[in-house]
Amino acid sequence: MTSTEHAPPTTSPAGNPIGFGRMLRKEDARFLRGQGHYLDDLVLPGMLHAAILRSPVAHARITSIDTTEAEAHPKVKAVITGATLESLNLAWMPTLSADVQAVLATDKVRFQGQEVAMVIAEDKYSARDALELIDVDYDVLPAVVDAHKALDPDAPVIRDDVEGRTDNHIFDWESGDAARTDEVFDKADVVVEQKMLYPRVHPAPMETCGSIASMDRVTGKLTVWSTTQAPHAHRTVYALVAGIPEHNIQIISPDIGGGFGNKVGIYPGYVLAVVGSIVTGKPVKWVEDRSENLMSTSFARDYHMHGGIAATRDGKILGLRVDVLADHGAFNGTAQPTKFPAGFFHIFTGSYDLEAAHCKVTGVYTNKAPGGVAYACSFRITEAVYLVERMVDVLADELGIDPAELRMKNLLRPEQFPYTSMTGWEYDSGDYPRALQLALEMAGYDELRREQREKRERGELMGIGVSFFTEGVGAGPRKHMDILGLGMADGCELRVHPTGKAQLRLSVQTQGQGHETTFAQIVSQELGLPPEDIDVIHGDTDNTPFGLGTYGSRSTPVSGAAAAVVAQRIRDKARVITAAALECSPDDLEWEQGRWFVKGDRTQGKTIQEVAMLSHGTLELPEGVEGHLDASVVYDPPNLTYPFGAYICVVDVDPGTGQVDVRRFVAVDDCGPRVNPMIVEGQVHGGLADGVGMALMQLIAFDEEGNCLGSSFMDYLLPTALECPKWETGETVTPSPHHPLGLKGIGESATVGSPAAVVNAVIDALEPFGVRHADMPLTPANVWMAMQGRPMRTDLAVR
């Protein structure tokens, strides 16, 4: 770790490292004792409970809603319908992609599970009982379920709420140079095409989404406790939607039981809890059940891709192109920077040195839940990496070249960094061949290939899959990236109290990533304070500075930089104060961990704790220096950071059943220096499990009528300890040149990089059957069908 060179490693009185290093997590103390405070654990005096009635059908006109019986239920306090909201001008709310979404349906329902009415009752059982008493008449309409048919001229128009709309088209977007790419393809020895689907999946954190709203009728203050990864952005949206002055809104994000992007958006239930509290004058709690979570909150992916790759006969990749049909569901509710309707998908050239590339993405409405960017995807880099890594394998198959060798031949070389990609990304730093080489060594690649040859002779199906990914995380800069006009920069405040104990206030919000520990370590690294003396405060808009929140792996690259900069400001101030105390010039002082001392005389100096007391005391401070030891910063990242990695997956496939067993998984990640290697490794493990899950089992599919076929954990399968192998992790360290501590994000790397490795491994195992591609999830049935030469379409159950 480059940044620790100036100081010898030391440990704190509590035995923690000063600065970077393995440190047990501060937040564990409460979680281990069952003393976390998750949303549903919170109880307010007089609190009422809300439940939401949802549409049983995917597309229908609502002809009538009768709530009389529900209202007569003795424990019911209020029933709210679209008509109630219309009268308050709250029936529709803005989405994070400048579309609108119905809070409660007024005219039509547009996906199964859409919100139709809300009941508020004294307890949660009664609220659910009363849902049964609401009578809704639906005039069922044909549903648009197949994204490929959404643009047919005779397709039903889903969004007829918008004046003059006559089709289901949302946007066309492209990147790269089409003409140049055509030229490259025309002259190439080899061109291979492959259609592939990255199916719809759901992040499914173990804690579902929920909210408690409390409107104080006297002060007009609205307090909302909510499962949100982005409390400040939510506050602004509530202000815009409900017209409540923003200074009268406090959003508190308590402990979050996993987010993965599911808790970025604002859901109708959140807004309804607010309305419920305004209507009843009481705090109102709404917590969705698992089916509601899977059917109505942000899904992810649903990218139908048609890729093409061009190369020379000896395996130099020349060009890449892709046409994407993006299924955005019934409302365009993707959470991504405004300028990028397809997120960061146009980073799809991945880790390779190409001559030309071009992508075109068409977004369409369908009768499915809205969302699109959720689930640890780094704004669709996961789709991009999957595309390029599958295409490289398809090319390897065509050329008869080993897929690891083909990658090694085409990876960007270290001397090419900073590298500007064909679609305009500026990769900050990387040493790709080193990471791939390490992964190959860890896996014992040559030995694995030997084993595979032997097994094939015996008719056994073993597959080895390689993927290499480049991530781009830490959005903004603010001038290029915003959500609903809010620039992606994050504030941070640090106060060092008189006795040298500190509080750090962050705009980002942990969902399990361990911010309370990592950010204390970042400040510790810069100030030399023991990490146990630094309290990290987050998730409360009244007590933290503004910022866009935690998603897209942006906490360490953005807020981690903010924490470093704010600590450096304190350090600089401490220098001036030390100089005043010692009656010398600041230039005469030198820093060592936690202390300024006079150059050449280590005995003359002040620790940061001593400076803290001096700064609050009576010492006469130099002209222009304020008392106290506080600082704040707004960090606007100059660029994304670009973590990368090389993954190798080994599978065995049962030739009789098509069952895939992931035997080994080697993951080499480079995210720059690691603040807390234990936490970083944990982030990687979780993402690898996601990759195995998506590749093999997770799927939100629909039938012809638009019924969601993944609406419970009986149907939406998540990996357990049995499907996951023992992860084998490795690292290389290439610091980011622009992050103050060289750090890059890590939260989503493994989710982005691993699905392709698993799929590549399974397809490799099926080579004896001549299988070149099959779509995720590679369930036993799907694998078996692929072996028969009839790969299935996985997103639809069509009779």
């Binding site: 047990l24 997590r25 937040e27 564990d28 409460r30 979680f31 281990l32 004792r33 069952g34 003393q35 976390g36 998750y38 549903d40 654990d41 109880v43 949660k124 059982y125 992040p203 499914a204 954190p205 173990m206 804690e207 579902t208 402990d255 979050i256 039981g257 996993g258 987010g259 993965f260 059940d289 698992r290 089916s291 969902q511 399990g512 990533q513 361990g514 234990m678 936490i679 490794e681 944990g682 990687v684 493990h685 979780g686 993402g687 690898l688 499990a689 996601d690 419970s712 954990f713 009986m714 998540l718 357990t720 300890a721 049995l722 996951c724 023992k726 992860w727």
Partner: protein, 163 residues
């Protein structure tokens, strides 16, 4: 209806609806919110607690069915300010991230180690396979269980050792 359940060693008597789930009784009526709820179909295991010494999914048990029986929850793992080795193991090996699955995982683990003090990796994975974790990829949970298996001594309160 009136039910009496021994929860973490103390008897509690309450009037409840016959349909009340044990998980809701524990969380909402007793305020023991360490036991979580995460699904509608008995798949996730965030609600695991002990009923008469056996781990059960408390979303699948009616409170009324626990009448006259003994329940133990995560809040009972720590004794006299000393963490159970299972708790210590989860901390040492980073077996938790968001912490939502953790109480259920720890209750299963405690039961496993009581019955098989030295389980191998396959046994551990099998034991927790009815429970989901979305954060850890399970590897560190396995390591946490092994840590607890290897450090049982921390668990022995001195009185017990003497007795």
């Amino acid at each position: 209806m009136q039910i009496t359940i021994t929860v973490n060693g103390a008897e509690v008597t309450r009037d409840v609806e016959p349909r009340l789930l044990l998980v809701h009784f524990i969380r909402d009526h007793l305020g023991l919110t360490g036991t979580h709820w995460g699904c509608d179909t008995s798949q996730c295991g965030t609600c695991v607690l002990w009923l008469d010494g056996q781990p059960v999914k408390s979303c699948t048990v009616l409170a009324a069915m626990a009448d006259g029986h003994e329940v133990r929850t995560v809040e009972d793992l720590e004794v006299d300010g000393r963490l159970d080795p299972v708790q210590q193991g989860f901390m040492e090996e980073h077996g938790l991230q968001c912490g939502f699955c953790t109480p259920g995982m720890m209750m299963t683990t405690r039961w496993l180690l009581d019955h098989d003090p030295d389980p191998d990796e396959a046994t551990i994975r099998e034991a927790i396979s009815g429970q989901l974790c979305r954060c850890t990829g399970y590897e560190n949970i396995v390591r946490a269980v092994r840590w607890a298996a290897e450090h049982p001594a921390v668990d022995q309160p001195e009185q017990e050792v003497e007795a």
